[in-house]
Subunit: 300 residues, 4 copies
């Protein structure tokens, strides 16, 4: 199985070896696109997709995502990135340039429930999740076998209130060792400390098992059942230090009816959780998401 996935990832990188993405956020003003596209043109780059959005023509915010092909990108990338800095400075840009063939390193955190982890593993095996699944960290042993059978390192790091500091210390070591770019909390039931969250700002994606802001906090399915709602949902978001209050990336819902108990809702909800989390992760990996004022701009 592993070599099968390796082949898929290799082909993907080969196919996109000349492709890069540029994400920009800056104060709006005339001439930004002109300047950026002139810049790329001088490197022989061809813009193959671009999406731009401004909050307001007068004194607003400017957001753009550009995909471009540049022959020989591999050898030029660092130079292009360096050369772009004065352009970025002129417009006070927050920006990021990423070579598509540089796959991001992903760590998945999971507790006992495996459904979200399994969905990500499934997408990855199918060649739909273009990333290095660097490692899986869990406070339980339950999912070790399914992870290791795919050749992915699995680390059991016990964690609870009492040993949170020690656990996070171990997390940090592992994340540094594997040079992790993105952390996915695939139903990881432990709280992270503010320091940890801050050091991975907008790089930790969580799945909450309700349609936020309904049922913030614990036991959302039980509370949904008690309230008698006719739909349940799931929400993926970047983690901040306000519980379930981070920037929402994606949401979806499913129908339930009076016959569905909390346990049925949980099962229906798991299907929703799986797809909502997978979409968010894929969008992040494809550099489609910008965060601004606790909201996300998702370029489709």
């Amino acid at each position: 199985m592993t070599s099968y996935v390796e082949d898929k990832l290799h082909n993907y990188k080969e196919k996109h070896k000349d492709r890069a993405r540029l994400l920009i956020h800056c104060p709006d003003q005339p001439g930004i696109i002109s300047r950026v596209s002139d810049f790329l043109y001088t490197y022989g780059a061809n813009i193959v997709a671009s999406h731009q959005y401004s909050t307001d023509p007068e004194g607003g915010e400017f957001f753009i995502r550009i995909e471009f092909d540049c022959p020989g990108l591999e050898t030029k990338f660092s130079q292009i990135e360096a050369d772009f800095q004065p352009v970025a400075a002129d417009f006070q840009m927050n920006w990021k340039m990423a070579a598509v063939s540089e796959l991001k390193n992903v760590a998945i955190f999971v507790s006992k429930q495996p459904h979200c982890l399994l969905e990500l593993l499934w997408e990855w095996q199918s060649g739909d999740l273009m990333a290095n699944l660097a490692l899986v960290i869990s406070n339980h042993e339950d999912t070790r076998e399914m992870v290791e059978s795919l050749g992915i390192p699995f680390y059991h790091v016990p964690s609870n209130k009492e040993i949170r500091k020690e656990a996070e210390q171990r997390h940090k070591e592992l994340l540094e060792e594997y040079e992790v770019d993105l952390i996915v909390l695939a139903r990881y039931m432990q709280i992270l400390t503010p320091e940890f969250v801050e050091s991975y700002r907008n790089r930790i994606i969580n799945i909450h098992h309700s349609f936020l802001p309904a049922f913030v906090g614990a036991r959302p399915y039980e509370r949904a059942y008690e309230r008698g709602v006719k739909m349940i949902g799931a929400t993926s978001h970047y983690v901040t230090n306000d519980l379930d209050e981070g920037p929402i990336i994606e949401q979806d819902i499913g129908r339930v009816d009076h016959r569905d108990h909390a346990e049925d809702m949980k099962k229906i909800g798991q299907t929703i959780e799986r797809s909502v989390l997978a979409r968010a992760v894929k969008w992040h990996l494809a550099d489609r998401i910008l965060v601004h004022q606790n909201k996300t701009i998702v370029f489709s």
Copy 2:
């Protein structure tokens, strides 16, 4: 237009003159269906649809909705209803029998925004809302013309905090005069008193412009925008004295994205509100809804 609708309603009543519905809620025990179906059979009734649901086989609650055809129902209905009382007593039933040709009298309350009212009027004209639209009551004059143009009486009853009592007194007179069975709050922006709500228990349907329990209370679209949600919704529910906490009948949602401001969300939301309210009203009119412990059982 009026005679056109009258024809539709007349044809519907004629077609269903032998049909009745029986809704039952009682403690579960063996033999209920046997007893009820035997009872109906002795009147030559043919059960054309039935849906039954029990919360739990052991010591739970039993709910059933039966549609039956009984030749000559018109002359027998009162007798059947009377004869059913001892059966109902044996099983401690909460129950209701309704002749389909006895259309319910409906009052619509509306403030300034006409979209929900218009949807109901449109469904009614199309022959999809089988009811007598007895009257429309509003605290504004805005919708008078569209209502009266369809031959429906329109009453302007000013209402606000200061004159709530007087307004409700007038409401009650009108509702009694028109023998109203169901009140639909089609974006009626005034609070009703507990006395009023109690006297129309489970007979007042409201539309709330959010996916409850998210954004209980005022300005839900503005708050949805501020939170950065990716979906907005609407909820129809029976009115109780706890704001936006009554039994939910139906919910639905629609997608929004980062480009949608509160005003855009409001427009997208109005389409959802229209259909969610119309479905709830049609289900109530078709005797499909039972309320139990602040939840609805909706027989599809």
Copy 3:
């Protein structure tokens, strides 16, 4: 993993040891429900759910699905079934009584693409597919490992036009050996002979990768791409001898846009195929489906 699933199945059977289902289709007339419910009452059975549907009150068809609990069912089931025969005869019923604890034996046929097989295996492991997954038959070796790792027998039976007869002979032997009740074609790319189909009438479920009747036949995603549709779908149906013309059980769709090539549509479609097939299989296993005039009645 296997013992984990065995535990789930065992618990399910234990929990439902007194429960049975009764499916009936007969000409409509007054008194059917009365007679059937009287019959069940004499055995001390409690009806816990029932859904009835008639095509037309006058001279139509009557369909009902009943779930009932009968203490000591295990020892009484055969007798109840036998005793029901004269009742059934009086009303010319097509009928079926099934003890819920008697799990159905299921054979899955698959070719190379594993996504539908994997979904079924996943649902089964999660305790959401209540069946004995008796065996998997494939004309390729690709999925052997994932099947055998769950302790399910895997048989590689090569098949193509030239050796269809021999292959089907082998299929029949295996299906008889494992006493198979239901065959699921989880993207099995071989044609079945009319004799084979006839001997498993309404017991073979196929997934077609289009929203039937659009794109009957081969290469539906390619043709969907060429036509420029904005949505693609999947359809599960019972297999008949008219290609893709059998009774439809379930359908669903997903959105695509101008950027999606046939290959993208295929990926989006696979997610739809997975859930549409799984729903159909679960409904069949729960005895929710009746077939009448090449259509299905699905009791929800």
Copy 4:
């Protein structure tokens, strides 16, 4: 009502008096965006939204939609449009520049069924359909009143096989008189001649009451019922001379079940038709649609 709509349209035009849209389709090559954005920058224009899509980086097709604000657009628009011609020529562009405040003139064709017409009128009254509803043409008198009550001219032009030529002659006169930009067939049940279609190429939008390519042609709901589908749909498309084969703009579906007869499907379908047609019309009015090889690129 009329003055109410006039106010809405007036405010919209005033608010967007400096805004224009530029739609381009040409062979892909590096430098297009650079050249176009430089061009706009020289006029002091600020690009407020842009979406670009290329079919393939190597030798493919390039599509872009740009919205820009240019102070004093009203007086400069013709000049900008003229000056853009050499740029367009250099890249062999098919292109269109449109001032947002220049509302398009729309003619609606309708036969007897009013639901699609009513939806468009409703959207227009609500200020969601930014166009001049110039006139309504019908081969029946049924909808005259609802149209004229809004101050929109209504023309009854009888049409059938025998008098098609005369009818189309009258249509052409009216369309020229009102300088119509877009024709919407809101359930207009007459065939148009190839000459007529050609003269409004990609400017006639039709709603077909099925999920194309399923049920091409007449009586789709009856055929959907006969086939036993579990979902029905609607499709809006540009009209070509191949029946129901024009470029698809939008599709949507809704669920039905075994209880729904053709007549029920028709009612459920009408709701879908309404929204699918309205979306297509709004996208066309907002210059969001490009047609290429019998498919649409819809910029969201």
